[in-house]
Assembly symmetry: none
Homo-oligomer: 175 residues x 2
């Protein structure tokens, strides 16, 4: 299914140059735009030159409203976040062990051993800020999940801001 088509409803570009109709807040990339940008990133592009930025922007304008600065920021953000993410993982790895997910032979092995000390990255609750800064409409993923992006330490209920569901079941208190 072509998602790009329906996604076209982004923002009316007919509002005239620069005008973004109802909401002038910020760039809201279409799926197609994100796709191309991601492809570029994955192809190795990290810090596009001015020329590249302009060309990219020009091409992407076919899919919807976009400016050069949007492209620039997208790359800056995407690059930085990839790095940050990795960095956090490494830090958390202090006493790192890793997942051995080749379980073919795991029947012989103690799962405990392999899971022995895989440590998950701590994820503080900066959800909102991050998402707001992130120019991609990746919020989808998080919004419906009861508690979007927390992935750590269920046990510390105090740190949890449950939005629309009850605190953890008593059964989960062991965590």
């Amino acid at each position: 299914m072509d998602d790009g088509m329906s996604g076209f409803c982004l923002k009316p570009r007919g509002s005239g140059g620069g005008g973004c109709g109802s909401k002038c807040g910020r760039w809201n990339p279409t799926t197609e735009q994100v796709r191309v940008l991601t492809d570029l990133f994955r192809s190795g592009l990290r810090t596009p030159s001015t020329d590249q930025i302009q060309k990219i922007s020009s091409q992407l304008s076919f899919y919807g409203k976009i400016e050069s600065k949007n492209v620039f920021y997208w790359f800056q953000n995407h690059k930085a976040r990839e790095r940050q993410k990795r960095r956090r993982v490494s830090v958390a790895d202090h006493h790192q062990q890793h997942h051995e997910i080749h379980y073919r032979e795991d029947h012989k092995l103690s799962s405990t051993k392999y899971f022995g000390e895989v440590n998950q990255v701590v994820e503080p609750e900066r959800v909102i800020e991050t998402l707001e800064l992130f120019p991609l409409n990746s919020f989808n993923e998080c919004k419906e999940l009861a508690n979007p992006c927390f992935s750590y330490n269920i046990g510390i209920a105090a740190n949890y801001q449950f939005r629309d569901h009850p605190p953890l079941d008593l059964r989960l208190s062991f965590l």
Copy 2:
């Protein structure tokens, strides 16, 4: 549906009459186990640490046969499939977040001019600064959306992992 009575072993469905002592095909979670796992997921747990996995597994063993790896896999799969589900549904959606990007109102500025120096000198760091002020802690869940690994018609023709200079695929040849 599972009556819940059989409890301890795999559901007595299928071959073998529920005997899981000798030969267990694959883990077949009881409804209680699924319930707890789902609660955890809904609470935000995405990639449990080894420690958490062990505890979860331990607790869930009360309801029936289970191993750590089952918990590990369950979260992997559930996470991926939820994401998949969301993605299917909301590919085209736009989620407007009303937060002004730190980029100042430079609609008036010439992108060309602006970026003319941004790229090569100081500007990029402004973005990073901001990012550091707002550590992207909740990034896990969101990142992938911006990084869809689907088989785009782009074909990943240029998927050589060039880190330095992008070979760029057909669609990117305009660069």
